[in-house]
Symmetry: C2
Subunit: 255 residues, 2 copies
């Protein structure tokens, strides 16, 4: 039988200005949309297009529901904030396909990449990701906490700038504070830490603190936290916000 | 005096479909554009808008020229491929401002983020960046080679997926092969390596090899190389290309 196509759609950081035409075209092609409510709210749908809202933590069930519909011949959209390939729905869809019935492997998967949160925050703060960096999810729902702290130690020793996704939530209140403690053992206290919330949206808020004063209370679920390397610098511009950036050259501040 | 605004513009991976409306709006506001020729070629300029082409390796001089013009009151665009904050012009502009005359700090800097190469390649391959990952530039023009190999070892030990930018060029022919050798000492030979060239463009080419067979000749200047972690898997789909992905959960394949 003819299978539908499953579009895995990245809506970018939240402003319509930062969503690609490719993602909009994918939206036009699908009949049903699966996702977390606030991400689905970003789409302008016609009366014929259907929304199926699910909770933020139900990625795998959502992926299965969407694949079931696509297998039956419907064109389906699975919607992510930012980029769907970064700690988001593209991996959940793959997990579901691997464990699912053989017909799910016959579905065309079309993923439209998007501007992921760390890139939007970095653009507002200066150029903190101008040199080697990493992205680490602080969620210990699917990964043991000691794996996370081990990774933080190794990337800090490597001198990489660190973007933390999923830094904090009601169910995970202490992890970010402990991550700062781990990093303070390795990195200088002067390293800049950027708390970037809702970058590119009307309620955007960017706060910069030295690591010695970084406080987990400055973050919430919608925050991307970027921790500089020993190479990361701040250009003072008087009344304008400072520019936080990591040079392309290696000055020797990290190893 | 009134300063111009300096727009640092990300054009995305290359297809017009993957450039954001925000970047297009920034293009509309500037009078002069500085960049590498192939990136400037992506812009549709009016007869009044001026192009100043420079070589790919002249980022700092280009930034200085653009800042000089912006300081004199002109709205200027500095153009990058992908995202300007990732191994690109945003950091070069900051370097120039920090070392430049005080009036350069009075210029408004507006950076429009874009879809960076690794996200575009990942979207085509499956979801290889679905869990913790890093981006490392393999260029030793501005960073000693032993720093690069040390970083590769640490991030491989950390179990991160590794995206390599600037993997190879005529002037740097042997670095990618040596990077594979370093990683083969730490990672299983079965780890998938994605060679993603020109993702999203008509001449796109995605090749996947196990690390044991990864060959630097499969890459050129326009390639982003993504090396999986021990958690990264491939879903066989028969005639369709396999889906390379890194699960959101931690199965214990890496530490």
């Amino acid at each position: 039988m003819t299978r539908g196509t499953l579009y895995v759609i990245g809506t970018g950081p939240g402003s319509a200005e930062q969503m690609t035409p490719e993602a909009l075209n994918a939206v036009a092609k699908a009949a049903e949309f699966y996702g977390y409510g606030p991400y689905l709210d970003r789409l302008s749908l016609t009366g014929d297009q259907k929304r199926i809202v699910s909770d933020n933590r139900e990625e795998l069930d959502r992926a299965k529901a969407a694949l079931t519909r696509a297998a039956s011949g419907i064109n389906v959209g699975v919607v992510s904030g930012g980029d769907p390939g970064v700690f988001a729905m593209a991996a959940a869809v793959c997990e579901a396909i691997e464990a699912g019935p053989p017909e799910w492997r016959e579905i065309d998967i079309v993923t439209t990449p998007g501007v992921t949160a760390m890139l939007a925050v970095a653009a507002r703060a200066g150029a903190p990701l101008g040199h080697d960096f990493c992205a680490i999810s602080l969620s210990d729902n699917l990964k043991p906490w000691d794996v996370i702290t081990r990774r933080l130690r190794l990337v800090a020793e490597a001198g990489l700038v660190i973007a933390l996704y999923n830094p904090i939530s009601k169910a995970r209140p202490w992890q970010l504070g402990q991550a700062f403690d781990v990093l303070r053992e390795i990195l200088p206290g002067t390293v800049p830490v950027i708390f970037g919330r809702a970058a590119g949206r009307p309620d955007e808020k960017i706060v910069v603190k030295p690591l010695s004063e970084a406080d987990a209370n400055l973050a919430d679920m919608a925050t991307c936290v970027i921790i500089g390397s020993p190479e990361t610098r701040i250009i003072d511009r008087g009344e304008k916000p400072g520019l936080v950036y990591t040079p392309r050259y290696f000055a020797g501040g990290s190893k």
